[in-house]
Symmetry: C2
Subunit: 353 residues, 2 copies
Amino acid sequence: MKVHNFFAGPAILPQPVINQAAKAMINFEGMNLSILEISHRSKQFEAVMNKAVSLVKELLSLNDDYEVLFLTGGASSQFYFTAMNLLDDGETASYLDTGTWSTKAIAEAKRFGNVEVVASSKDKNFNYIPKNYSVPANSKYLHLTSNNTIYGTQLHQLPATEVPIVCDMSSDIFSRPIDSNKYGLIYCGAQKNMGPAGTTLVIVNKNMLGKVKREIPTMLNYETHIKKNSSFNTPPVYAIYVSMLTMQWVKDNGGLKAMAKRNQAKADLLYGEIDRNPMFVGSAAKEDRSLMNVTFLLKDDSKNDAFLEACAAANCVGVKGHRSVGGFRASIYNAMPIESVEVLVEVMRKFEG
Amino acid sequence: MKVHNFFAGPAILPQPVINQAAKAMINFEGMNLSILEISHRSKQFEAVMNKAVSLVKELLSLNDDYEVLFLTGGASSQFYFTAMNLLDDGETASYLDTGTWSTKAIAEAKRFGNVEVVASSKDKNFNYIPKNYSVPANSKYLHLTSNNTIYGTQLHQLPATEVPIVCDMSSDIFSRPIDSNKYGLIYCGAQKNMGPAGTTLVIVNKNMLGKVKREIPTMLNYETHIKKNSSFNTPPVYAIYVSMLTMQWVKDNGGLKAMAKRNQAKADLLYGEIDRNPMFVGSAAKEDRSLMNVTFLLKDDSKNDAFLEACAAANCVGVKGHRSVGGFRASIYNAMPIESVEVLVEVMRKFEG
C-alpha cells in the first residue's frame, strides 16, 4: 500500500529517482560495480559532478560570476562558514530573524563580526515574516532564511536593498524561480527539496570572496573547493549522485516554473481545506504561508492523537507538528504528488464527520 | 563478468552489504519508503545510529571513556578539527610525517598551536616509517597516520610513549585489532575500509576534551555532537547505514582478528609474487609494507601501459599507482576476496611470460 510521505526532511524523493539510484547501487553505468565502490576521480563520477553543477546553474539561471559547490556539514555548518569567509572582524552583517535556524545563524556569525538583527518575528513565535525593516547600507550582506520549515512561513518577496543577500534555502531550493542576481551566496542542506541527507549545496558569487583577512583552515575556505570542483577531498559521492538525478527530474518535469505551479496547486488544496474545515486553523500568517511546509492546528487539541491516528490509517506519515509549534505539519515538497495531498485532505474532511 | 576492484577509495564493499543497502533504497525496514526518505529522528534510523555506535565500540573494545561520532567532511576536516579542539595557543603537539596526509595535518595544526615534527620519511619519498624518534613529554598528543594509502606503508608498532595518540586510521580502521587505550582520538573517512564516502568516524576519549580556551563554532566542537549522539543536525543517513552494515559484516565474519588473518594472507600472496617475479619490485620498505595498499613497480617502466592493459583484460580495475609514487597500487581492504588477489597474481605471472 502506497505511503504518503509528509516528512519535513529527510523527505520524499521522486520515485523514478529512487529506482534509478537503487539500480546504481548494484551496477553503475555498466561498470558492474556499485556507485559506492568507484573512485571519485573516475570519469564516471566526474561526469556526475559536472552534471550536478551544470543543472544547478541551468535551473537557477546563474551567470558566470557564480560558483557551485557540493560540500557537507549541512546548513548548520554554513551558519559559521558563511560568516568566517565573508565577514571580517569589525565589519557588520545584517540578519533577519525568522525562527530557529535564523537564530542559530545569528549566534554563529557573532563569533566573526558585528551582527545587526534588522527585524525578528520572535514576538509571535515566528508565525510571520517581518516586513518594512531597513538594512544598514554598510552591511557586508543580509542573511535571510527563505522558508522556515518549523513554522510554515516563507518569504514571498525579497526586501528592497542593494546589499547582497546570503540565503539559507534548505527547504525551498528549486521550488520556484528566483532572481539569482540578488544573491551573494545561497546554501542548503540537500535533504528537503534537492536530494538525500549527506551533501550541502553552496552557490557563491566569486566577487564576495577573498575579502577577509583572517586565516581560514583549508577545508573551511570556499576557494579551496572552488579550485577543485568540490573534489579537494573525497566528496559524498552517492548524495551528490541522487541530488543530480533529482535536479534532472525537476528539469524533465518543466523546471522551476512548472514546480512553482504544481507546488501552488498542492498548497492551495491543503490551505483551502484548513480554511474551510471548522475544526482546523492554520498556524502561520496567511500572507506568509509556506508552499513547502503547511502548519496547522486542531482548534480542540484534545483530538490531536485521534487525528494522527486517522492520518496513519490512511497511510499518511510524518504529519505530526514540530514541538515548537505543536499540531500538524504537512511537508509537500517538489516530489510530493497532488494525489497524496488529496488523501490528506480527505482525511481532514472525514475527521470533520 | 566479475570485476576485481582494487580502487584505493571509495573502494570495494562486501557484496552482501551492497545487496542489503540496495534493498533499503526501495523499502527500508518494511516502511514502504526508501531509507533516503525517512526522518533522521525516526525510531528506525535512531536504531541504525545506535547500532553503528555500538559496533564501533565492540569491534575496537573501547571502554566507557570513549565517545563515538559519525560526522562529515572527511579526514581532511579532522586535520584542523582535532587541533582546534585539543591544542591550545602556545601548547605543543607532536606529529610524525609519513606522507601527504600527515603533511596536510601538520599544516592545519600549525594554525592552532606549536607543532613538533618528531620525524619524517620525506627524504625517501615516504617509502618507510621513521622509528627511534623521541616524543617531547609536554606534547598534548602525538599525531600518527596508521596507514599511508599513497605510499603503501603502515605502522606495525606504536612508538613507546605515554603521550596520547591521535591517529588518522582512514585506510586501515577495522583491518586488525588495536590497543585502543593508547589512543586519545581516532578518525577516519569511511570510504576505504568502513563504508561509502560521506561520513567520518571520530572516536574520542572524553578526557581529551574541554581543555582549550578558544571559542569554537558550535558545529566544530566535538562536545556538540557527543551531546546529541551525532544528530545535532541531520546526519548523513545512508552513509552511516552502509557503514553499520559493513561493520556488522566484519563482526559476522569473525571480527578484527579474523580480518587481520585474512588481510595477512592476501598481502602475503601479493607481496610474495612481487618478490618472486623478476619483473617487479615493491616500492615500500619491506618491514613497513601495508597490508591494505600494496605498491609496486615494473623494473622496466616502459611496460607500464602493457601491464595495465593485462590487468584490464582480466577485469582488475584501479591498479594504476598514485602519481606521487608511479607504478601500481593494489588496494586489498577487508572486503577484497582472496580470489581477486589470486587473479591479479596470475596476471603478474603471465606478464612474466
